[in-house]
């Protein structure tokens, strides 16, 4: 479900990973073929007539599928309609792989309750840090041995802060530049106000602490209103500002601009993301990489599909 940048890439790369796409849906329509959808044709249809196919979008959920890939846009609150898609799949004992943050950031406990009742599993690697295997790393270490997590989880905000510091440019100028480059959306609120990073932190907190978190449990401050002079003052002292999300040992979750040394591991540049874990017995682990983008996020989705086998 979903044929935006991530959904498209998943459909295009699925064959390479040995999977067959039996249904593909966007908000306007769907195409279902138990023998395998002609992905190139479907995506061509979307580009020319606005939808992947003429069937009703909900028909995709009636296909003979094993794994539902939920890649519709992230919505807040009730996480509609992603949550309903997840429920439909789990109630029919299918697996779910999420690229959509809404269901696991806003309704994690509801999703896990459905998964408990189902023969299907839910995975959501792609929801945090794009291609970075953040969730798999926590699973591998054991959530109980990871005491804290923090990182740069929004490439748009990081790009803006990096450019402002490097070029001495103002926020508005760099934002406009980011929009021209396609790094920032026309409406950048979600990224620059910290909401996107906060959703990812809520998901990390849910994984580390066994649920109970949603967006409203995260203290959020964005990067709007950070003047160029603040970055100049930081640079004079060998420091810089990054939008950092933290899940602390005491269970509190916070997203906000923070002062870090310029050469700090967390001070990644441009659209890069980084996730840093504190572990009980093994010190600190850092994983950095591309935190967004169709093929990057699709890589995380398809890795999850592989883990289900």
């Amino acid at each position: 479900m979903g044929a935006g940048a991530v959904g498209r890439s998943v459909a295009e790369l699925a064959g390479e990973y040995g999977h067959t796409v039996v249904a593909l849906a966007d908000s306007a329509g769907s195409v279902v073929d138990d023998g395998g959808v002609d992905v190139a044709q479907a995506l061509d249809n979307k580009d020319t007539v606005g939808s992947v196919g003429e069937a009703d979008p909900s028909d995709a959920l009636g296909a003979a599928y094993d794994v539902l890939v939920e890649a519709t846009p992230t919505t807040l609150g009730d996480a509609h309609p992603g949550f309903e898609h997840v429920r439909a799949a789990l109630e029919t004992d299918r697996h779910v792989v999420l690229a959509n943050k809404g269901p696991v950031a806003e309704r994690y406990d509801d999703v896990m309750a459905l998964a408990d009742e189902s023969a299907g599993d839910v995975r959501f690697e792609a929801t945090v840090g794009g291609a970075i295997p953040a969730i798999a790393t926590i699973e591998g270490l054991g959530a109980e041995t990871v005491t804290a997590a923090r990182g740069v989880l929004n490439g748009t905000a990081n790009f803006i802060l990096t450019r402002m510091a490097a070029e001495g440019l103002g926020y508005e100028h760099v934002l406009a530049e980011a929009q021209d480059l396609g790094v920032a959306e026309a409406d950048p609120t979600f990224d620059v106000e910290g909401t996107d990073a906060a959703l990812k932190c809520a998901i990390l907190a849910n994984v580390l602490h066994g649920g109970g978190y949603s967006l409203e449990d995260v203290s959020v401050e964005g990067i709007t209103g950070i003047p160029g002079s603040a970055l100049d003052m930081a640079a004079e002292d060998g420091r810089t500002v990054r939008l950092i999300g933290e899940v602390r040992e005491d269970g509190s979750v916070r997203v906000g601009p923070r002062l870090v040394p310029e050469n700090d591991t967390l001070a990644v540049s441009g659209t890069m993301n980084i996730v840093q874990f504190e572990t009980e017995h093994a010190g600190r682990l850092n994983i950095s990489g591309r935190g967004a983008g169709g093929p990057e996020t699709a890589t995380a989705v398809l890795a999850d599909v592989g883990r289900l086998e």
């Binding site: 209103g225 002079s229 603040a230 002292d237 933290e246 602390r248 923070r258 002062l259 870090v260």
Partner: protein, 176 residues
């Protein structure tokens, strides 16, 4: 008495621990004055006690560099407990940014209030010029706080800033 030319007096901060008895403060100050130290200020932290139940006193003094070791020795010889010398007693330092209309909201009052917390001091301050288009300016501040008090110091700064509608960009602290 003249010291070597070029040797200018330097300021030092000495932190002492006094027993709560009459005459103790005078007993502590005499070795400073008698050994060429010029007293600049005495900060008697009434109401705050050290873990041993003694009273912490912070003394700012000025002397020629060659005199300073003698002053510390004389204090110790007089049985005065010198806890820390100069900035070192502040176990931790953190750098923060303050953003907003710093001038209109009375920067010196902001600093005074940050320092009103006995365990916090502002050891360095740099201020940016205003942008011209609006009244937003930025300041970088290095705060020194006693070990274990950094989080408390940051909480206090956050509170003062929020009252004055200023923004604080904090470092990452309190994590291993």
């Amino acid at each position: 008495m003249e010291d070597e030319p070029g040797d200018r007096p330097q300021a030092h901060t000495v932190r002492l621990e006094l027993v709560d008895e009459p005459g103790e403060l005078l007993r502590a100050l005499e070795p400073i004055a008698n050994n060429g130290g010029n007293l600049l200020s005495i900060f008697h932290e009434r109401g705050s006690l050290t873990p041993r139940g003694h009273i912490p006193v912070e003394v700012d003094l000025e002397c020629h560099p060659s005199r300073f070791p003698g002053i510390i020795d004389a204090l110790r010889d007089a049985g005065v407990n010198v806890i820390r010398v100069d900035r070192e007693h502040y176990g931790e330092q953190v750098t923060i940014l303050l953003i907003g209309d710093l001038i209109e909201t009375d920067l010196s009052d902001t600093l005074t209030r940050i320092e009103s917390n006995a365990s916090t001091s502002v050891v360095d301050l740099s201020l940016s010029g205003q942008n011209g288009t609006d009244d937003v300016s930025s300041a970088r501040m290095r705060l020194a706080a006693e070990t274990g008090n950094v989080i408390g110091a940051l909480d206090a700064v956050r509170e003062i800033a929020s009252e004055k509608d200023l923004r604080v960009v904090e470092p990452l602290v309190g994590e291993p």
